[in-house]
């Protein structure tokens, strides 16, 4: 084994065992998203160590726990309260208009490109791009916060290709994301998915897509 392979093997073992901590753990988790071979090593270690769990007798959790879990699931059927949709939609449109004009006036270098919306069209992000389309910015518009243990992640999906993560999105202020030269915004899709805190552990979207737009 080469030094690097050996080092990675030791890291995979420590990660699966749980002794890799702090920033080293976070760095390793980021690498796992990009390196399938490393993720496979970790899975091997997890499978091996799972054998240790079988020495422990199972403990049935209290019945109330399942009830709490069911209550925290997203609503089962999407009931669109008709009477309340229209004012929200109108307000959103006004706010959108204001935001678009504000962006147009304030930042001549960034041109509004598209609006990322959720399925109900009640929450939006304004997407702007630099003239050369090598930077895009995202500005939140009536966006509700996510839970502390979750993060929003922005994806660029070139036509017919796998999603590429552009980074995490926080709902508080406009953020900029560089677009690499080999990527193009032409006919691509932008999407924001709901991920575990810190972003997708696999390097691909894992949670539901909350917002998307075709460019």
């Amino acid at each position: 084994m080469s030094d690097k392979v050996q080092r990675d093997e030791a890291l995979a073992a420590e990660y699966a065992l749980g002794t890799l901590r702090g920033s080293a753990r976070l760095r390793f988790q980021r690498r796992l998203q990009a390196e399938p071979a490393l993720a496979a090593r970790v899975a091997h270690w997890q499978t091996l160590l799972a054998g240790l769990d079988l020495a422990q007798p199972p403990v049935t959790p209290p019945a109330t726990l399942w009830k709490k879990i069911v209550l925290s699931l997203p609503p089962q059927t999407r009931t669109a309260p008709k009477r309340r949709t229209l004012p929200w939609l109108a307000a959103a449109c006004v706010a959108l208009g204001l935001a678009l004009s504000a962006y147009w006036l304030r930042e001549p270098a960034m041109t509004p490109l598209a609006v990322l919306t959720d399925a109900q069209h009640s929450q939006q992000w304004v997407v702007s791009a630099s003239r050369r389309q090598d930077v895009i910015s995202l500005a939140p518009l009536q966006v509700s916060a996510v839970r502390a243990d979750q993060s929003l992640e922005l994806w660029l999906i070139p036509p017919g290709q796998a999603p590429v993560s552009l980074g995490l999105v926080t709902g508080s202020a406009p953020q900029q994301y560089p677009i690499e030269k080999q990527q193009s915004l032409v006919k691509a899709t932008l999407a924001i998915s709901l991920e575990p805190h810190g972003g997708s552990p696999t390097g691909r979207p894992t949670g539901p897509v909350l917002y998307s737009v075709n460019l």
């Binding site: 093997e9 030791a10 073992a13 420590e14 065992l17 749980g18 002794t19 901590r21 702090g22 753990r25 993720a39 496979a40 899975a43 091997h44 270690w45 997890q46 499978t47 091996l48 160590l49 799972a50 054998g51 240790l52 769990d53 079988l54 020495a55 422990q56 007798p57 199972p58 403990v59 049935t60 959790p61 209290p62 726990l65 399942w66 709490k68 879990i69 069911v70 925290s72 699931l73 089962q76 243990d149 709901l194 575990p196 997708s200 552990p201 696999t202 691909r204 894992t206 949670g207 539901p208």
Partner: protein
């Protein structure tokens, strides 16, 4: 766990990925006693373990589509979610105020010597437990404290009253031995 159980759970997770609530409940019934035992063992407080399990099943509901059956079994995948969350929890200052209860640790570290394991049907599990017996007692204890209690290198060093460097090398060598011995 035998292959048919694993297959059943894979089918359930795939249904959960399509928002099938009945499948989710069935998956919960099948796996929660195991995951609750894992969380209880690491956190040592029922209320915390319940809270973590609650969060983790919501994570499982949302992330079911990302489960890759080529990499690991459903139970291993779900155990990883629970262990990861427990490790985060243990790192927080709140959990640190409650220090390790010694009798509890002794009782659980000795679970490794449990002979029931030899009767387990899964040959790889039996092999792992055989291999654990080849380790030096320091190596075995360090690995058990890390895995079962979620202790860090520094916590284990404090518990065994040994230098952190020794603990790190026991764990590294112990894990290398397990890899070779189990044939990973």
């Amino acid at each position: 766990m035998d292959a048919s159980q694993a297959e059943q759970q894979i089918a359930l997770i795939q249904a959960v990925a399509k928002s099938d609530r009945l499948a989710f409940e069935q998956l919960y019934r099948l796996t929660s006693p195991h995951l609750f035992a894992v969380a209880l063992r690491m956190l040592r407080q029922r209320a915390w373990a319940e809270e973590i399990l609650h969060e983790c099943y919501i994570t499982i509901w949302h992330n079911a589509a990302s489960f890759n059956s080529a990499l690991s079994s459903p139970l291993t995948w779900m155990t990883h979610i629970v262990r990861n969350r427990c490790i985060d929890w243990l790192r927080s200052g709140y959990a640190r105020q409650f220090n390790t209860d010694e009798t509890w640790l002794d009782e659980h570290s000795s679970a490794l010597d449990d002979t029931r394991i030899d009767e387990q049907c899964d040959p790889q599990v039996a092999r792992l437990h055989q291999c654990m017996k080849h380790l030096s007692s320091e190596q075995r204890q360090s690995i058990a404290l890390a895995y079962y209690q979620g202790l860090s290198h520094a916590d284990i060093a404090g518990w065994l009253q040994q230098p952190v460097g020794s603990v790190k090398s026991w764990i590294r060598r112990g894990m290398e031995h397990l890899r070779e011995c189990v044939g990973l």
